[in-house]
Amino acid sequence: MSEPLLVVKGLTKRFMTGGGWFARPRSMTAVRSVNLTVGRGEVVGVVGESGCGKSTLARLILRLIEPTEGDITLGGTRLSGIGQAELRRERRRMAMVFQDPYSSLDPRYTIAETLAEPFRVHGLPVTQQAISGMLEAVSLPASAALRYPHQMSGGQRQRIGIARALALRPEFVVLDEPTASLDVSIQAQIIELLAALREGFGLTYLFISHDLGLVRYFCDRIVVMYLGAVVEVLPDARAVPRHPYTRALMDSSFAPDPKARREIAPLSGEIPSPFNLPPGCAFAGRCSRAVEACRSASPPLTEEGGHAVACFNPL
């Protein structure tokens, strides 16, 4: 790995929900003791199923929400220790592309206004040429500047979201399922674009997705999450998974190749409620390799040659 750009230590977020006249608030841990390092220029993927805490992790890292515990350091600055004013200045160095291209653009802003916003926020001048240049970088015509979001397709809007994120030339970009709501044909366009921009601007990505196939295609290293915790870190896209959950994820994604058809051994059992996690490994109830220890103690994440896994009985 190259020099680390982002270092996350022991990051935890507990949400309190409910609570009112008669109900006591319930606490749920959306992200639990996550350690993560992203090297400069790297693309690190985060995969996991809906509700496992991917977006929460993204928001925590960019300090859009405050962590319950843990430390975040970006390029030497301890983000988790600074005040709001300084944080707002630091935001120039990081950016986020959001999952939903429909609600991530203000419907009252023209595209030009949306793209000018990052500059305005930091009191920087912005010119017509700059806007055209930003549009060009994401392969949109300069004429798009005067349109409104509702006049554009999902894929075009997501390009705008990417252009806005890159406006101030950040070093670090979090991509939160940037293609999840798009057709596969459009997804492929966006992925191509992201790869080109990474090359062009020397960006570092944290790429969040629920699609293991996509992450294995696009990312250098892969972090697998299950119910708020990291269960495995694959050192490269070709690494053979050792955690039974990663294996199950891989077996569940279908290759577009009828020759690769296989009997699926689907996971049995339900995902436990995040409000009421069983003791031990959170995956034990669905795992075919579970042993005695899995149901009583939670397996620690142990690393070996860059490949980390949290399992008592790994593959």
Partner: protein, 321 residues
Amino acid sequence: MSPLLSIERLSVAIGGVTLLDDISLSLDRGQILGLVGESGSGKSLTALTVTGLLPLIGGRIASGRILFDGTDLASLGPAGLRKLRGGRIGFVMQNPMTALDPVQRIGEQIDVVSRLHLGLSGEAARARTLDLMGQLRIPEAAAVAEAYPHQLSGGMKQRIVIAMALAGEPDLIVADEPTTALDVTVQAQIIQILTGLVRERGLALLLITHDMGVVAQACDRVAVLYAGRVAEERAVDPLFERPAHPYAAALIGCIPREGMAEGSLKGIAGSVPPATQFPPGCRFHPRCPHAVDICRTERPLLRETPDGGLVACHLAERIAG
């Protein structure tokens, strides 16, 4: 013997705009036909037409016909269609969240289908409901039957909707993107359940999806729709091996898979135009890397391929060969 479902040169219009143009498909018992295409290509519209729900959204059949087990659906009338739908034709709608009544218990919603279509008594219907839920591997079926929809996960709700579609002992199931909103592990479960039903009971399944991976895993044949027309219709293996239509090839190329070199993922430039702006000639020509002059003016007709498929491309032979 004639196929169970046969769609013949079907065109469908809503408000004067032709949205499905000359679609022909057929499906036999024990077979799974995949229907793929990008958003807006007309997949759901085909499903609504087959299940007789077209009038509900203000559409009408402009030409062509749909034969179900030899009967023309148009000859049935609203009452006959209602009897067929939920009975011999089960429909799994695109959005499981809206298919369930939020204020009725799950069990009652499934019961009512077999009471209505099979004439079962309350007790027999509940027994059948629990049996179906068991077949769909719903744990603690009796408890789930007493729950309300909002208490269930998305994957569980989708299984309930499938149970409802099965309750009337259908011969044909039309499933419109039954797994799009679900996680991959749950998607794998649902697809396995559906293919199992087809193999074991000889059901016919029209499986609508935009995921070529799901098609490759589950289907026997596949029809690729583009802008309201059939681009290619073939058995799954040859389609993936030697796609004859450039659009089918491009769709397959869009899915990242194991061992793919970086930079080899190719999107399809542009997007499906809205129905009022379909171009003349081949509707795919503005996005097609092979397009030549004739593609811009002449509509390519569906032609037979040597392996018994259909393809609508002027250059099909050249591209496949």
